[in-house]
Amino acid sequence: MAEMKSKKEKLLVANRSEIACRVFQACRELGISTVAVVAPGDEQARHVTYADEVVEVSSYLDPAAIVAAARSVGATLVHPGYGFLSERSVFANAVEAAGMAFVGPRGETMDLLGGKIAAKELAERIGVPTLPWAKVQLGGDLKAAALKVGFPLLLKAAAGGGGKGMRRVDRAEDLDSAAESAAAEALAAFGDGTLFLERLVDHPRHIEVQVFGDGMGGGVHLFERECTLQRRHQKIWEEARAEYLSDAVRNGLHAAALKLVCEVKYRSAGTIEFLVDDQGGFYFLEMNTRLQVEHPVTECVTGVDLVHTQIRQALNPKKAALPEVPAARGHSIEVRIYAEDPAQGFLPTPGTVERLRWPTGAWIRVESGIEEGQTIGTSFDSMLGKLVVWAENRELAIERLRVALEETVILGLGTNQAYLLALCSDPDVKAGKVHTHWLEKTFASRYQAVPSDADLALWSALRKQGLGAALDQAPASSRVGGAVSSQASPWQQIGAEGLKP
């Protein structure tokens, strides 16, 4: 085939684990070579073996080190993933200044939308509804500002995220002490103690709109997602589309999101987050200027590959590269599997993945960030992977998710698998009667970490048939030999397997 001479494209992902693998898959499909970065302590991570080249960097958070790594291998594109440097304009600008394409929005757009206060002011200016809010001036009259906003309210860090520097305040008397501790926490976490006040909505739902902009003032929305099931402002269960919205609210959300995209001439994939109250009011929260963790549910209901679309646009930025968005079909749910114990305040449960078996089956998608044998420490995010399902309706999607979770085997460390499984059969989840504090306020007391007596008695029976003696006391070497002589003792065999290097 006579082909035009074209530059060989090479993409570096400035990220790790499952999202790096997700982007690498797209690159491999598009014939683009792949470069992974790896930080000290993360050598076992899955993305390291998934790429064509690997460069060591001192930290995933060091923009200069990552730009230097990209230049050293001749990368032509850099994808930031989510978290880490993905919303740092300094990084996006440095990548482009070095002559590479940044797969995401322009740095100046991040500056425009990154600060929570600036983003609110922008939304207000173009008529996108926001919650009543007020800036907190250093040494200013906190009480007057609070009365303007109204109680109950939230104190929030201007530079915040993940619930850090956030306090609920119900009474004027509690303002000063809450402000003091929130500012200290924000200063420690983000190096910036600036706060603002925002009216608190009781029992809200978290709805977000997926958008894609052409960078020239045009854009499309790819419908909405519902991420109401959160704990400490961390999403664990995400759906597309949002089932429990009136058409008026849904259309209002889409229109408001598009207004923002066009106003800032947004480029690439982004998400606009809203709170929806039980009266049908909706309020702009913030814009995430990156690909979201939960992007697969949107891909499932639209059939649009968001990562392909991002990369194609980055390769040809002058052409309007908007995806064609078909009508959404069916329902999709994603859950995040973490190495943590939901029954103990989500305490991290580091350990080694001794046995791993992701589910297979119709309409089940797995975004894995781990490998069997890998040790999960506490230095990096404890998300092990994501399970995504699609079905023709929400009811069936929940049942399919339950089956997928039942088929998942991750042994050797604790995970939130049982917790997610319990959510699948909860009547409030099935009926959609949830709000953003439902997990902490209602579900926390429903979740039973201890298995039933019958299940423990079965385990006890199996243990009696050989597990206890063989694994608790005998040294490893003595078990490997005389293993499966008796049909009734599967334990030695399992023990021997588990000890293979």
Binding site: L411, L421, P451, L456, S460, A461, L462, L467, L471
Partner: protein, 163 residues
């Protein structure tokens, strides 16, 4: 005197290991699955699928898609019921930082009393007294970095007076 099967620690809760249920036949299947089959008196057959991994006292059990991770605690032998209470909760299990000590040395605390706050993985956790007792000695100070295995404090169990 009945001999105890020992106890389990599941998500910080202590659970007595139940008597084994009877009549299970175990089949090892490819993929690491185990099938437990039991024929009941009424002619029905129960069939459960599970996966187990175990090393020393740590057990991971998948049964009906539910993962339970737990520790098998030392088997209490008959006649040794009054040994020292288990205070493994007072040792750091993961790296982090001591945020705040909530009680002073010499204080008496009831079981469940918050003793200190630690920070790990950008989150705060409260360590509670596993049993009633007196704070004998603090081994950590506020702001100190924690590595797994560092003991927070010595807690002297309160001896129950029998009358």
């Amino acid at each position: 005197m009945s001999q105890s099967n020992g106890t389990l620690k599941i998500s910080g809760q202590r659970v007595t290991i139940p008597e084994p249920s009877q009549g299970w036949e175990i089949e090892c299947r490819p993929g690491g699955w185990l099938i437990a089959i039991r024929k009941n008196a009424d002619g029905t057959t129960e069939r459960r699928r599970l996966a187990v991994w175990s090393k020393r006292q740590s057990v991971g059990l998948i049964l009906g898609g539910r993962l339970s991770s737990f520790e098998v605690q030392k088997t209490a032998r008959a006649g040794m019921a009054s040994g020292a209470p288990d205070d493994s909760d007072l040792v750091a299990q993961f790296p982090g930082k001591v945020r705040k000590l909530l009680v002073k040395a010499g204080e008496e605390v009831p079981a469940g009393q918050p003793l200190l706050q630690v920070e790990a993985m950008k989150m705060e956790f409260t360590i509670r007294a596993p049993f009633a007792g007196k704070i004998a000695k603090w081994h950590v100070t506020e702001g100190q970095q924690l590595m797994p295995g560092i003991r927070f404090l010595d807690l002297e169990a309160k001896t129950e007076k029998e009358s």
